[in-house]
Symmetry: C2
Subunit: 532 residues, 2 copies
């Protein structure tokens, strides 16, 4: 054990010392092997043993927060170490969270299209056809090591990150971590331990067939039957529920409070939910699961729920629970005594400092919003603070997004919120408020064209909300495809005071998914703005 | 005939005077009827006969330029009239240009996906399957009146536009137009007559089976055979060519100079073209059509072309020509003597003024770029000038876009252009430059997830180009899906001096189609930026 940042190298066999460069292909093979036989591969170590400098920080956890924090600190010229139990950097997102969810949501969108055009054009007859969930999960399992490999390659060869992977980190004190039998010391620790799905505490919640987003990827070993029960009403519940529905299954969503309460604009939420119901999803709000029943082999057979219309019993062999996330703070509390809040999140100040000197926390571990941008940005902010920059970070005014069978994007205020705040709210929407509004194929753009021509009411919905007096955009909402990326940039403009006049002066790439530019231009000539 | 803006109303039968409000559904029926029997319906007239004011402008042509100019002028409190030969406002775009092209491009994207996953998951067996082009065209023909109806409804009820439709405008002088037997006078004329496809002047170019983007929609009456010849190498040629290819046909593209020369970034162009070739498209550069041969019934049977490797004869019954557009300036030249350039475009100054006092010209009629944003913005700019505002318009630094089987978006400089201009060019790209780069499923986002997992090299390409010294973005390039909308907003930011540091500080909506935010954040910590 050394007191500097330099590690004491131990013997782990040949696999622990990396050759100078691994190709992406070599990384993919190594990661696959390690995932199958973690202990046979042992710690995967990339340490500059010729660098005598102390580590400025050890990132405990190599997910989005730890990896981006590491990259930033390194880019600034500092020295870091990141330790992760998995054989790859990038964390749960590419392994069993955001990436599979995007694959499943793509399948949901494609399957809704195929069902809508079932038996016509080139689409197969989808009538009563149940599509395999397991095949899609298996496709993901086979494909996921590619992105893992890129991230390891990028982290090592392009970002110069030092790491120990495929072995857990044991926190010893605020400056010391053990990993793979080696002791590492640093000026600071950055806790980036992530979060894990909350699970039902109902009787039967441990039965075979009760899944969450991690287990469906890691352990689904048989095809779910014809009925799926989804417990939850937030982003993940809806995203997976729509996928299950699109495969041709009956989906019952048991929602404790209100489905998709996070979509604040009433029209937008209604359009999204109407389309879910139209696809046959059964949504029961105010429902709580009272028990999950299994058979002799402990396989789920039934869900019992209390609903506003009485007790409901649903025969099913597959339950998907999505109740939110709990930060993985226990190890840090036990080792360091960091303060946590009542939800288990490590408490940090705007500089990502915990209650323990020299210990920082980032990512999902510090609580909501558990989104990628926050993980990455909190990681980089901690790195900058550690390297002496005067910066702070607290997420605010971010754009947001979820999948139904569609992509739903929003930023700023819903119309109702805006009306509560501004005297003169002006709304530009498509389709227009009109008895036939939904019968026409607008809005339309890439991936809603077939709908626009043949099932116009399925071609999407969008709304721009303005403070008419200031002529400023205060909210934007979109259900369709291809607008999510735009909301990232549009959100920054809105924060900076984007006006209807500036929007109308932009160059649209027609047919654009967000019709905001052209709708603005149709009204911008008005001194007294009117809705459209 | 009156000398004020007020028209002399004549008798046209009941259909010529609109009831106070037509619903969108009623508009759809009326437009359908008028398209089938134009003269039976007669002029469709929406004039405020109770308004005694002179017209500030008559827009001759109600496409994007005329309609948006009208809307803006009206929004400013002016009085306008717009006249169009078609029974709807909006022009060729929703009728036979951008909208059908988007439908065909969506089919191309969906068909490439279906062929890639042919016989697996829920996808049908597409092996050797030829999909009907005519069915898709017919789908469009049936569906297009919906968007027409919305635009008429919006123009009349929401934008208060005055119009005479379903009858040609005859220009009498710089202040006078005749339409449907009525004489209308105004302070100014705004010419918005659009453009039409250039046609081959080769022997046989008038044979049955030689199409362009208008005739394929308006007059395709039989299914094209197994081989399609596309003449041209620009946006439209490629967009339609990829669609024909995706239907399962052999497609030979005869390109006079260089395919997709408008994509300036070399890597981006190469990725897009490689994927086209991989789908089986045959691309012959340096080719000129010397003759098109027909049979006794004047149907195309063969194309003869001179190519760098000698004369080529291709058996086909379907030729799609896309050689660009010629402004429809003749009527205006004959009536008014407006000056035109050698390509037939009406010459205008930065205020959209032609060579004739009080006559303005907008849209495709004034030449390149013949893009929607320019049509609309030139229309609104003319309106503002006419209403006394000190504004000017000349398109510059716009983002651009086309479809292959993918969506290809770009803005600013290609890497090569940037290197010619800046000493220190930094490039952030995904996949990274690496022997295995294309073998991995990154970049990935909505609609490339199935590729990312199973055919990684098909999951797209993207590149951000920076002036490393100034830390400013100077170009962005994307092949994939869902980024086109973002380029509209990103382009404005780049024009305003967007830096890598600002990009890194944005909130990405992960998995975002453009990975620019996160790639920037991985490098932004560097004082001396390095490529990634």
């Amino acid at each position: 054990m050394r007191d500097t940042g330099k590690s004491t190298k131990r013997e782990f066999g040949e696999t622990t010392s990396e050759p100078s460069i691994l190709t992406i292909e070599q990384w993919a093979k190594k990661i696959e092997h390690a995932l199958e036989h973690p202990s046979a591969v042992g710690p995967i170590r990339n340490i500059r043993d010729d660098d005598d400098r102390e580590f400025d920080a050890i990132f405990v956890g190599g997910g989005a927060a730890g990896r981006f924090g590491s990259a930033y600190l390194r880019a600034m010229g500092g020295r870091q170490l990141v330790v992760d139990r998995w054989p790859f950097l990038g964390g749960s997102c590419p392994h069993n969270a955001c990436v599979p969810h995007h694959l499943f949501s793509e399948c949901a969108a494609e399957l809704m299209l195929a069902r809508t055009f079932s038996g016509s054009l080139w689409f197969p007859d989808m009538n009563k056809r149940i599509v395999s969930i397991k095949e899609v999960v298996d496709l993901f399992r086979r494909g996921r090591t590619g992105p893992h490999a890129v991230m390891n390659y990028q982290s090592k060869e392009q970002l110069d990150i030092e790491f120990v992977l495929n072995t857990p980190a044991r926190i010893i004190d605020a400056n010391t971590v053990e990993a793979g039998g080696e002791i590492f010391r640093a000026r600071t620790l950055v806790l980036a331990l992530g979060a894990e799905p909350l699970r039902l505490d109902t009787p039967g919640s441990d039965l075979d067939g009760v899944h969450d987003y991690t287990t469906i990827v890691e352990s689904l070993d048989r095809e779910p039957g014809e009925t799926v029960v989804v417990v939850g009403g937030g982003k993940t519940a809806v995203e997976y529920g729509c996928f299950f529905n699109a495969t041709g299954r009956r989906v019952v969503m048991l929602v404790r409070h209100r489905l998709l309460d996070l979509i604040k604009d009433g029209d937008t939420r209604a359009y999204a939910i109407d389309r879910m119901r139209e696809q046959g999803m059964e949504i029961i709000e105010g429902a709580t699961v009272s028990a999950i029943i299994g058979d002799a082999s402990r396989r789920v057979t039934k869900v019992i729920a209390d609903t506003p219309s009485g007790q409901l019993q649903i025969d099913t062999d597959f339950v998907f629970q999505s109740l939110g996330e709990r930060p993985r703070s226990r190890a840090a509390v036990e080792a360091l005594g960091v303060a946590i809040d009542r939800k288990g999140a490590v408490v940090v100040d705007d500089h990502l400092r915990t209650s323990v000197p020299n210990v920082y926390a980032v990512g999902d571990l510090i609580g909501a919003p558990m989104e990628m941008f926050k993980a990455r940005k909190s990681g980089t902010c901690a790195a900058r603070v550690i390297m002496g920059e005067e910066v702070s970070y607290r997420p605010a005014d971010w754009p947001d997004f979820l999948h139904t069978h569609y992509e739903v994007s929003w930023l700023g205020l819903g119309e109702e919120e805006a009306r509560a705040r501004y005297r003169n709210v002006v709304v530009l929407k498509m389709p227009p408020d009109n008895p036939n509004g939904l019968d026409i194929g607008l809005p339309a753009s890439d991936r809603t064209m077939l709908y626009a021509m043949a099932r116009p009411h399925m071609s999407g919905f969008q709304k721009l909300v303005l403070d008419g007096d200031a002529r400023r955009v205060v909210g934007a909402h979109h259900v369709g495809y291809g607008a999510k990326d735009a909301f990232q940039y549009l959100n920054v403009m809105v924060r900076r005071g984007l006006t209807i006049d500036e929007l109308g002066d932009m160059d649209e790439l027609f047919l654009n998914p967000t019709h905001f530019i052209q709708l603005s231009r149709l009204r911008a000539g008005q001194r007294e703005l009117r809705s459209l």
